[in-house]
Each structure stands twice: as structure tokens, then as C-alpha cells.
Amino acid sequence: MKILVKSGRVVDPKNAIDEKLDVLIVDGKIAEVASNIDAGDAEIINAAGLLVTPGLIDMHVHLRDPGLEYKEDIITGTKAAAAGGVTSVACMPNTKPVIDNLAVVRYVIAKAREQGSANVFPIASVTQGMKGDLLSEMGELKEGGCVGFSDDGLPVKDGEMMRRALEYANTFDAPIFSHAEDLSLVAGGAMNEGPVSTELGLKGIPWVAEDAATARDIMLAEFTAARLHVCHVSTRGSVELVRQAKARGVRVTCEATPHHFTLTDEAVRGYDTNAKMNPPLRSQQDVDAVREGLKDGTIDAIATDHAPHHHDEKNVEFAIALNGIIGLETLLPLTLKLVGEKVLTLSQAVALMTCNPAAILGIDRGSLAVGCVADMTLINPNREWTVEASELQSKSKNSPWIGTTMKGCAVRTLLAGKTVFERS
């Protein structure tokens, strides 16, 4: 089975390639990347005018499967991924039951392999049941295919437990993913604390709730010499803490979400529950700092924190609405916008969505080198489209961008050489 992707602009930061080339896929793997490949009987995909990148990787996704399938499942979640140009996702363990044992890991991986449209790499919980008191069986979970450990929105509160988690995970060279937030400082807040929360009369979440927890986890990573990945940094302070830690040689990486580099807490005005997430949308200063962190390499990856919720869970008073928005299908245009605004080069933008997260997750993806699995995204960077709830593949429609016109989208997504999504 041969496929020739012809005449596209190949952007493959891992291999320092950015030029018009052909890519030959044979039996689901990259066979050749060169100009004017003549491959006789190959199926031809004309990529003229398109970007050809390694399949995008979203390292922070909630697939809600098992247990919360009314919000999303592995089938719809990976369909949303494919439609967004994403071929690999790392999924968070806050399912029912929690991903903290091999049985659930096997279920997730098998369902994704058999019925999914993207690769799914589970992130297991740090502690059993995400309860914060007993370590998960990290060795076996890693062996079973987990790429890291996180207690997600129930961050490990106890300092000693976090220390031991870092030390133990390091035994198996797995990173701890930290949703860095001091919940005692969050104290039931519903949005960023600042002039907008004051005006709207909503309880604020201060930036120090994130900074204080980020600082602790970085200190613990430094102390244990273990790997820490800070999820969804949203404040000026946490970006700066990661920057300084990297300069000191701490083994820390971090990610940022499109909503945190695109929107401010002004979006909450009108009590739009699709502007409610955790960490919350912050101030313009914070947004600027996140963008600066992406530009200077402090932030390693762009991840969506795709968090589907049912309409009924959002169609309520702001204070009781659940946190989170979907993001897989808007990742690409929002990231390309940073290229348009000269925050990132195209190569940087692609790296943040391909080889960088691949390196953190330790997966053999994010590269178009000969011999690699042919996960590939064909992107029309100029095509304008409007986000319509009815068109979204995700089971949930909780996006603040419904009705917004975006520029740039995946027009074809290939998973191991097989087309899993095509936009007409």
C-alpha cells in the first residue's frame, strides 16, 4: 500500500525541515521525503498549497470514557481529535473508574485501537482513586502503556506524597503531570480574581493559588531530580517560575492551552459558563506572559485540556456550572493565529503540537523521518470556517467559540497512513 503526498509544504521541526517536498508512505510508514518522488502505482494525495506536518499531539485531553460517556467517549473524542488534525492524545485519568489499574488502561487502549480515530495514550493517576493517600502501581501502569501520572483536578495536596510520587515515578522514567493549584487558596472561587470578578460579584481564584502550587512542585522536582510536567500554566508567575527552574537545570516542562493564550477573564462578562474553566481565564498581563513563554521556549507544548461537559452541566447559574471547555477542534486555528500575530514561527507552532509533546510523553510520534509511523496532518492555513455546534465531532458543545470564524483547519488527517478525517 503506497501513498504519495505530493507538493505540500512539509513542516517537520523535529528534522528541521520546512520546504516543498513529497512524502511517500509505504505500509503505514514514512518511506521517503524528497522532492519530485516518482512512485508509480502509489495513490496520490495532492497537497499543493497545504502544510504537511506530523500528526498533531494533544497531551491533555479528557475522553470521559469509561463512566462519563454522556459527555464524550473514546469514539467521539478521537473523532474530534482527527477533525482537529490531532492523531495522538494523552487522556486524563479522572474517569469512572479512575485510570489507576491495568484493567482500565487495557480497556482504554483496546477501545481506541479498535474503534478510535486517533492514538490514545493514557495518563494514570498518581494516587489510587485520585484520593491522595496511596501511590498507584506506576511500574505496571507504565508497562501497560501509560505515559505519565496525574491526579488532575485533585492535585496532590500533601507535600510528602508529592515528593514520593516524583521519586517513585522517576524509577520508571515517567513524568508527573501537575495540575498545580493550591485548593485552599482556590477556596471555592469561580473565575479569576480581579476587577472583573469584583464587578460581576463572582468569587475569585487568585493567581497565587497557581503560583504557590507551581513553586512547591518545582522545588520538589528539583529536590528529587525527577521529571515534572506542569499542566496548563495560566499565570505570569507560573511561567516565570518554570523559566527560572529550567535555567537552574530542573527537569521541568510545561504546557499552555489555546484558551489561556487567547482569552482573558473579560470573556466571563454576561456570565457565559463556556468561559468557566480551571485554571480560569486570567488577565491580559497573564495572557501576554503565556504568549511570551511560548515564544521563548519556556512553554514546551500547546495542549487543549479538552473537557467535554453536557449542556445541562453548563446551562446553569455560573457559580455551579462545571469547569472546562472542549478544545480539540479549535486547537489548530488558534495556534496558527499566533503565527499570524508573529508570536511564533510556523515551525515553532508545529513543534509545540508535535515533537515537543512527543518528547515529554516519550512516544515515537511527532516526526516525519523515514521509518516513522505515518501520522500526518494536511493543513489549509488560510481556509476560513465558522465553528458550528452541529458540525463539531465532540459529543459536547461547550466551546466559547461557537459562532466564531476561524482561519486554518485540517483538511485531511492520516493515522498510520490511513485517512481518518477528510474535510470536503
Binding site: G194, P195, T198, E199, L202, Y271, D312, V316, E317, I320
Partner: protein, 311 residues
Amino acid sequence: MSFNPKHVLGIKELSQEEITFILDTAGSFKEINTRDIKKVPTLRGKTIVNLFFEASTRTRTSFEIAGKRLSADTVNISASSSSVVKGETLEDTAQNIEAMHPDIIVMRHSASGACHYLAERLRCSVVNAGDGTHEHPSQALLDAFTIRQHKGEINGLTVAIIGDITHSRVVRSNIYCLSKLGANVRVAGPGTMLPPGLEKMGCTIFKNIEDAISGADCVMMLRIQRERQGASLIPSVREYARFFGLNEQKLKLAKEDAIVMHPGPINRGVELASAVADGAQNVILDQVENGVAVRMALLYLVAGGDKLQQN
């Protein structure tokens, strides 16, 4: 001028002219409340539902009396007797009420933005009787009405508001209202009760009550919620009373003819010493009295105002 808003959700959305118009309208209604027969037929045939998800005596009664004196049919629903305890959502509760065709829903709710939520989803008018820590427009309007009654004009006055600013919807509505009418608004309270960015709403922040009330024309004391005590906001009611309570001695710092206001219910000996609460400068019962007239004006204008009489 004519002004017939579909909803009254907050003071923020109102212009200075609109606020003045509401106050003037209230002025024309006030006299009805002192008649022998306290009823006019203006809202005859209209149905007003007072939907109260939080305990309230003063505001609910005031809205109810206002509606009744305008001949509307008023129905009171309080959370304890409603289906909320059965787990019904706010939208479902509201739609069930709307199916009975009320003209106006007056709502109080503990969630900020709850009235906006309702207004976006219902066909009938919504009047905010206090939403969370967001706004309490009828309170601010009756406060402005009372200040105008005693001071003639609000423009140029200095009004000091003291207390738990963070958790007060009265403060937010009053800052919008008074600053739009040209007053200098000062606020003061302990550091744990001053929210960030408040000055952007149109006021000056003071750290102590003495500086805030010096030379003020009007001192508005807020009720301190006793449950805040010990909940890391204030160590004790006793300490609060000492540093932020208003007594006769502190009141001397304000102008000699300053008035003392309170949205009620007052905690005697806490934010307000009894001598001040009962003193000559207090206008607290005027506020309550004016509340009925202001709410009559709001219901009248929302229901259609001048157009109503033509029909």
C-alpha cells in the same frame, strides 16, 4: 422622557438620565403610600411573581406592597417551599412559573448573574431583587431617593460606605448609582473585605473608617454577616465593632448634618452603635418607606409606564 425597560437587572446598565427618571417617577408614587386608601388601579390585571431563593423580609415585603398598591396580583414563592429542594434547575423552575403567564418576575437568588440567566431565557420581565454579590438595584435606587430627599441633590456629595465590601451587592449597585449621579463614593472595610479593582467601578478605597467618613455628607453602614466571624475574614464581631463600627464619636468626623444609612437589618452594637441607630441623623426608616415608592416606580415602568395608561 419615557423609559420602559424590559428588565431591571442592575444599575450598571442604566444612564444618569434613566436613574433620575426612575427617582422622579418614584417621587410621584410616594404620596399614594400615605393616603387613606393606598391603592391605584395602574397595574390591574398584571401578575407579579416574587421568586425569592434567599431569605428576605424587607425587600420581599416591599416589592409585594408595591405591587399590591398598584393593584397587581402578587404571588410570593420562597425557596423553602419551592421545588428547588427537589432538585429542579433554575431554568425549569422559571419556565414552570412562566407557563402561568406572569408579567413580571421579581427574583432574589444567591448566585451572581442569576437574574441575567433568567432574563435570557424567559419572555416575561425580570426585576433583580438581589443576585449573589453582584447587584441590588432597587436598594441603590431607594438609597439615592433617600439621599435626594434629605440633601436635595446628589451631585457633589461625599458618600462613605463602610463594611464587608466584597460580599455586598448593595455596594456595587450604590457605587454605580451614586457615581453616575455625581457623588464622590468612598468605601472602607478590613483588608479581607475589600475586593481587587473596586476603584475601577468608580470609588475611592480607604483603609479605615475615620478617613472614609471625614467630611462625608452621608455614611452608609453595611450589615456585617455574623457567619463571616472566624471564617478568616474577621477575628471577631467585637474587634470588628471596635475598628469598623460607627459610634457617636466617629460620626462627629462626618459633616454636622450628615445622614446615616443602613440597608438593614441592622446589628445593634456591631456595625452601628444603638445611639447612632436611634440618633437624629439616622434615616434608616426613610429608606424603608421610600423603598415601596421606588419599587412601585420600577414595576410601573417595567410593565409599560405611560403606555399602560393609554391602553
